[in-house]
Each structure stands twice: as structure tokens, then as C-alpha cells.
Symmetry: C2
Subunit: 310 residues, 2 copies
């Protein structure tokens, strides 16, 4: 049987890396020759989870069409967030919890998107629907993804299904979700050893919004000043990205994981979109976004709507 | 609670009409204020099923944004096959078994597409996943949709899941699938009272393929000559559609439901795409397509691939 690669988005986060591993595991048990791969570096938070549950990171790849003709996407569907040569392979499945955009197939496929906080919450269901039992490490990885995407069940994207899945999975994984979760989030929020390039690249995602190209990067911090004390260098790095990728807007979001607010550092010709969208004024290119922690539900939709009328 | 409209594609077939009725029924039982509507006339086959199981046809609408702000799509996702004002409402769910194209949302949604022969096969699962029991009329409608889309389980699009769902649903509906199914298909294949305009419009679907606009219409017949004896008038009608809609290609497919072959009547600047795709020569604008009965799996993908390189 030909191999099928399973992978998440570029600039991978914990949900993307673990969902690739977990779904490849499920598909293997269902008889598919599936292998999880990744399109970028493993971040500190994900590394904490992989080490804790003793699971190896997926293999790093840059292209997929050189190896396989069929792939499965997890935790994303938009072409520009996927492998560079995604147009040269057939997407046979997608498991995701994001908006659908820039995605097109020539034939039918299995596409399962649900408006829940985390891809892992859907994967937990898929094990059940297929009557496959969940091992301790796979439960630990799914729990880690849910904690990461919902900021320990506190993000507005967190649904009752995510909470229920988290409780079930914590039992199988044999951990206290609150204790384990805070340790994991803190590991991810330790930005002290990150270069400026890493800060602006890690977890950056590009979007088409109206007629504009927008990049939104997000980092978690225990204290937002840990990051924003390096504003001058950050701005220089953002300006380079804007020029390289011909972006109309770059929103760099620093999220306070203890207080659940964010500070946005905003550059680009369409900076006023952020002011309009949140009714704030940028001061020194920055604005506090009270209660905003979720790129997916609190930033992408409102910016898309705002930029569609600009 | 605000009302949500549930509907399938334009030029509705049995799967589209019954899926709207059935999914609205499921959502109502789950507490949603859902109403099934339709975007076009009910065909003879669908009418047979509705009459047999004593269910009223959904209400006909032309626009949806005048009534509601949220909708659920069944049996389609492509914008040009949906309500004309689909861009003015929020799509909160999609249940489908077709390719994904020309579909984009600004936020996450429930999107469930599976590569099975019929939307009803997915709906049958959704009742189970939600622990809702299926009434006799709803089972009858789902069975009718499966028989229609799989030509009584004989189309290459028919999967083991469709067959299993059909068996389960026939039991609940209290009918013999083969006997009921052939009666229903024959009711749909009775084209004697159809005008030429009805023949070329009923079940017509428009697609973007590569840089071209293509319309594919399909009718079932017990004898393809019942339809093709009217070729001169058919061609005139197709040429009018091509001019009106600025199509590059119109493929009118007459499917022999007893022998499971089709005859294609092909007009438009890109007619050679059909010759290339099936390695046939058009004779008097027609070609026999041996063993071809499924637009979705045997026509749309291969024509999309062919036209993408033209």
C-alpha cells in the first residue's frame, strides 16, 4: 500500500504536531500506511509535551510530492499554510477546526471540520467512531493540544466538547490537567532564548482577507514586557517580512496567558484595519486588545470582515 | 431562536430535496429552529418518493438573506450551485459528498463531507451519532436518495457504507429496496411529458474547471432514444444556454438506467475536452460513454483535470 503523509500547518504549534502524530496513529490502526510529518520546527511547548509523554517528533519535510501522491491535512486547510507543493498531490482527508478558504479538490474527499477549540477534540471522537482504543501517550498528546489551543480551557474558542474531551483524556493520560497544563504553557511562554527572527516566525500564519495579504503571528508570555522590551528589533524584523512577502498588514500578537489579554504590535499599509476592527488607537504601533486571546475566533473573522470593506 | 434554512443545490435532485427535509428534521429534534427549503422544481422521481412516504415538499425560495442570517447547506458546497444571495448569509454547517470548490468562510463551521455515494448515507450516521431515532418517513426519504444517487447500488460511486445504510433504512421504511427502487427510478426516467427546456435545465450543474465555465446536465432514461430523438431541438436549447451563461462547454448526459451506460451530447468551444478525457470521437456532437453513469466521480474530476491543462 502506498504511503500517505499526515501533516499540519507551517510554523507548527502543539495542536498541529500532535494531531499529525495522533491521526497517523489512528489511521495505522485502521490499516493505512500513514506517516506523520511536520513542516517546521517544534516549539518549546510542544517539545515539553512530546518529552513528557515520550513520543518522538514527526520527521521534518520541506516537500511532499517527491515522496507520496496522497496526503491527509490536519489542523489546516488553506493552501498557503500547507506544504509548498500541496497542489501536486491529492488531499484525501482533512480534519480541522478552522475557517475554510483557498481549498479546492477535483474529487470528493473526507473533510471533517467542526467549530471546536482544537483538532484533537475531533480526533478523540474519531477514535470512538472507529472503535479504536486510545493509548496513554496518544491521550497525553491530545490533552496537550486541547490545553494549548484553549489556554487551559479559558479561551472563548473552548467549547463544552473540548472540556469533556480534556477530562476524558486526562484520565487516560494519568495527569492532572491543571497542573500539567500550566507547566506546559509556561514551557511554551519561556521566550528568553528566542531570537527576534524566531519570535516573529514561530506560529506566524498568512491569510488572504478581501484583496489583502495579512500575516498574524502569536506568542504566549507570562509577562508581555518580556517580549515587548525588544520592540525596536521586532519592528525591524516585521518590516523585513512585510517587504519580503509583500504583506499589507502584519499583526504580532503577544498573549498574556495569566490574564488572558493580548498586546498587538501592528505594522503595514493597512494598520488602520486593526484600529477599526477593535475600536482602538495604535500608540507607538501598539494596542491592548482586552480579552482577546484567540487568533482563530477573535482576530481572523473580524479582520477579514473589516478588510473586505476597505 | 432565529430560524435557520436548510437547503440543497439548484436544479434539485432526490438527494438534495430529501437531505434538506431529513437534516432539518434531525436539527429540529436537536432543538434548532430549522426549516427545509428548495431552490427549484421537484422532479418526477423525487415526487414519487415524497408521495410514497407522504411527506410534503420543502417550500420553494429564490433568496435566503431576506429571511435569515444563518443557513445550512446539504448536498453541495459550491457557491454557483447555491442560493444566488449565499454570500449575504453565514453558512453554519455543510453536509456533503461532493468535491470542495468555490467555498470560503470567515470563521469556523461544521463541515462534514465524506466520499460516499449519497448525502443521506452521512445523515443516517448523524442520527446515530446524536442518538436520535429515525422515523419511517425519514428512513424512506434517505433510502430514496441512496437509490437515486447510486442507481440502485450499481453506480461506481456506491460504497459499502451506502449499501449498509440502504439495507438498514429499507427495514425501517418497510419496503423492498429493489422493488421500490426500480419503480422510483422509472418514475424519474419518464421523460415523455418534459419540454426541451426542462430536459436541459433539470439537474444541470455549473462548474469552474481550469479557466473555463462548464455546465453538465444529466437525465436518466429507460431508452436513451426517448431523449435523443429530439436532438435538433436539444442542441438549439443548449446553444441558447451557452450564449446566455457564456459557457465554454455544455455536456448533456443521457444515462441508460438499465444498462448503466451514457450518451453525451456535447457543445461549446471546449468540446474537444470530452474527446480527450474519454478517448472518444464526437460523431454528430455525440459520443457513447461506456460504463459512465456518475457525473460526480466519472465526469467532473476527469474533465477538471483535462480542462486544467487546456
Amino acid at each position: 500500500m502506498s504511503k500517505v503523509l499526515v501533516f499540519g500547518h507551517k510554523n507548527p504549534d502543539t495542536d498541529t504536531i500532535t494531531s499529525a502524530l495522533v491521526y497517523a496513529n489512528l489511521k495505522q490502526q485502521l490499516g493505512m500506511n500513514a506517516e506523520a510529518v511536520r513542516l517546521g520546527e517544534v516549539n518549546g511547548e510542544t517539545n515539553f509535551a512530546l518529552t513528557y509523554f515520550d513520543v518522538e517528533a514527526p520527521r521534518l519535510v520541506e516537500q511532499v510530492a517527491t515522496e507520496v501522491s496522497e496526503v491527509i491535512l490536519v489542523d489546516h486547510n488553506e493552501r498557503q499554510q500547507s506544504a509548498d507543493d500541496i497542489d501536486q498531490v491529492r488531499v484525501i482527508e482533512v480534519i480541522d477546526h478552522h475557517r475554510i478558504a483557498n481549498f479546492e479538490t477535483s474529487g470528493p474527499l473526507y473533510f471533517r471540520a467542526e467549530p471546536v477549540g482544537c483538532t484533537a477534540t475531533i480526533l478523540n471522537k474519531l477514535y470512538k467512531e472507529n472503535n479504536v482504543s486510545i493509548s496513554k501517550p496518544m491521550a497525553g498528546l491530545m490533552l496537550s493540544a486541547i490545553i494549548s489551543d484553549t489556554l487551559l480551557f479559558k479561551s472563548p474558542t473552548c467549547t463544552a466538547e473540548d472540556v469533556a474531551a480534556g477530562e476524558e483524556l486526562a484520565k487516560i493520560a494519568g495527569v492532572d490537567a491543571q497542573v500539567y497544563g500550566l507547566d506546559m504553557l509556561k514551557a511554551g511562554a519561556d521566550l528568553s532564548d528566542k531570537t527576534i527572527e524566531q519570535l516573529v516566525t514561530l506560529d506566524g500564519k498568512e491569510f488572504s482577507m478581501g484583496n489583502y495579504k495579512v500575516e498574524i503571528a502569536q506568542v504566549n508570555a507570562v509577562d508581555t514586557n518580556d517580549v515587548l522590551s525588544r520592540q525596536v528589533e521586532l519592528e525591524a524584523a516585521l518590516r523585513t517580512k512585510i517587504a519580503e512577502k509583500q504583506l499589507d498588514l502584519f499583526v504580532f500578537v503577544v498573549t498574556d496567558i495569566l490574564n488572558n489579554d493580548s498586546v498587538a504590535l501592528v505594522l503595514g499599509d493597512k494598520s488602520t484595519a486593526v484600529e477599526k476592527a477593535y475600536d482602538v488607537s495604535l500608540d507607538d504601533n501598539k494596542a491592548i486588545l482586552k480579552g482577546i486571546v484567540s487568533r482563530k475566533s477573535q482576530i481572523v473573522p473580524i479582520l477579514t470582515d473589516t478588510l473586505s470593506t476597505m
